[in-house]
Symmetry: C2
Subunit: 377 residues, 2 copies
């Protein structure tokens, strides 16, 4: 046997991280009860005790999303994995798809759908705007897509995409409606079944106040049919819902080892949603966002997104002329331990992104941020 090389056996200290207030686009701070749940002792991934937990997580996800979809599961990866699962399971090589691109995550959907061989038709809009029904309708009429992909809550811009009438349009054209709810689930009204959404995905680290590491995904009956009728296997083993669904469904067939402790955390996060109730939770997010927007207005700062489609969970603030956006963020972190993010892509250097999500959507955080921002500016 060779001798062991100790080059990479570096000295380390006990874990100690600064007490950040995470007011960027996510991760937001997990609820303390969620953090405690994470360290609960483990059981196996096929233990009856864990199967019961899985069932509870699924039920509470259905509540949070307002759906009866049997196939509602936390994908064993982050929100981006759930996004890819949504695409991989519904798109087949050569399929026409229409993707609304009005921010970073629309762009990412284009990248993913392209990798899965889709014939991608982009519907473009400036970052921070939303698509009108007529624009969507015209694109669907023209391109006859198999899937229409829209970002309900654009994490890069803070814009909400209205969905009135879209589901009827999709049904007329035998097209699935797939939406990104990463920054809306648990903070912004969502009625998947009422709205006729066929596929949705999310992350745990936004309005659910759980650390990142799981990606909720739900497939409605039309999406499940589409999956069953595929001509080819899903070209992604880990995210193949025809396999994953058997572990989370009645069969309980082993596919991969679920992230046990992360599921403990998500269960606790969803219990908090159920305890508070969706109506109260949405109202709290709206109220604290209003407080932030009013405070920003008083400071002479403008929001980038029109109020009619502005997400209460994520606000983009226009950086005033002559101000160094990155320097302000650095200062907020250095002096106040507050994380406030900058813009991505088209909005880089032009906006700051402030998240008031889940546990972090509290009046004291708004007051602190406004006061700290006034000091730094």
């Amino acid at each position: 046997m060779p001798s062991v090389n100790n080059t990479h056996r570096i000295p380390t200290t006990d874990l100690d991280t600064p007490p950040r207030l995470l007011l960027g686009p996510g991760p937001s701070n997990a609820h303390p009860r969620v953090l405690r749940a994470l360290s609960n002792r483990q059981v196996g991934h096929l233990d009856p005790a864990f199967l019961a937990i899985m069932g509870e997580v699924q039920e509470l996800l259905r509540y949070a999303w307002q759906t009866d979809n049997p196939v509602t599961v936390p994908v064993s990866g982050t929100g981006s994995a759930a996004m890819e699962a949504a695409v991989a399971n519904t798109v087949e090589r050569g399929d026409s798809v229409v993707i609304g691109v009005n921010g970073y995550f629309g762009e990412r959907l284009v990248d993913m759908a392209t990798r899965y061989g889709a014939e991608v038709h982009r519907l473009d809009r400036a970052w921070g705007e939303a698509f009108s029904f007529d624009e969507i309708s015209e694109a669907v009429e023209r391109h006859k897509p198999r899937v229409l992909l829209l970002v309900h809550a654009e994490t890069s811009t803070g814009a909400r995409q209205p969905l009135e009438g879209v589901s009827e349009l999709c049904r007329e054209h035998d097209c699935l409606l797939l939406i990104d709810t990463v920054t809306s689930l648990g903070g912004v009204p969502l009625f998947l079944d009422e709205w006729g959404v066929d596929v949705a995905y999310s992350g745990t680290q936004k309005c659910l106040s759980c650390p990142p590491g799981l990606g909720p995904l739900t497939l409605g009956p039309r999406a499940v049919e589409r999956l069953a009728a595929r001509k080819t296997k899903v070209p992604n083993w880990y995210l193949d819902m025809s396999l994953v669904g058997q572990y989370w469904g009645k069969e309980r067939t082993y596919h991969h080892t679920a992230p046990i402790n992360m599921n403990y955390g998500l269960r606790e996060a969803l219990r908090l949603v159920a305890e508070e109730g969706l109506e109260a939770r949405w109202e709290r997010h709206a109220r604290n966002a209003r407080l932030l927007w009013d405070g920003l207005g008083e400071m002479g700062l403008a929001c980038h997104v029109d109020e009619a489609i502005r997400l209460p969970s994520l606000t983009t603030i226009r950086v005033p002329d002559g101000v160094d956006a990155a320097a302000v963020s650095r200062e907020l972190m250095a002096r106040y331990n507050i994380e406030m993010a900058g813009g991505l892509g088209e909005l880089k250097g032009k906006v700051w992104r402030v998240g008031l999500m889940g546990f972090n959507s509290r009046e004291e955080n708004v007051r602190l941020l406004l006061s700290a921002l006034a000091e730094v500016l």
Copy 2:
């Protein structure tokens, strides 16, 4: 706005799970220090404090694997995601590959490689055996593979695949050597660089004693070259190491939000490996396995795998004639809270699988298991 449907707002109780001793093939019990680290307060995924943690995780993974590979990262999914990342990044449509199939995870590699369009050549052996150098050499000569995929530690059988001479063979044929180290990393001698391994992956929930949820992956220089020279994009966005590698590399470009708290846990698990030292850790695994094997022998129970290639981390025990394997496992759990798994595939009903991994590889666990098994049988 529609009214909220409370059908799925089910009542739940505080999380409470039975005190299982996880002596199956994984997950094994996490070390208590790891469980505590999970619930540490969060920082953002681009926070300088987190970037420092990422660097430490990478260094300590290099130590555990005995490699200098710069591209050594925990994939943001379970070990199965790391397995798929290994395949997706090295295999291109039409590539000839040779896969050693002597257990469940070899079969899974075949499924994955097929989905990525490889021309798969199987090398088959009964479950529980290993391949001889001559068999491997003959297959490589005949099929001229671009990648040779072998399972170093077969979690379904407990067999270890010797690798002497294999790397030289691969280099002669411009073929990458990719190995599964899910059940060996942190418990069984591994010298990736000495052995000339180009790609390896693992899980966190076996000999590293961290909960499932991350999948360590390492790419050597020849694999990185292969990735850079691809004719097509990796057909998997989430696991594309040319993107993920930029977040974990010098660029720190955002790709997806890393599972912050799971990385806290993995860091602590790897610190425990570094504190104990690989030599002592491997010796401890060997010593406790020997104790188990001797005890089983005294009870008249036979191990399924030949001792020369038997993994100290995972033992398959032959189920005696006339004994109901599943009933024994159920009884061990009901009476003693001990999880001991059954066989998969070819070995279903024929063996039990006992893991003595990481924190769980302790003499008291061996004594308890032997005593409980004697009672139940």
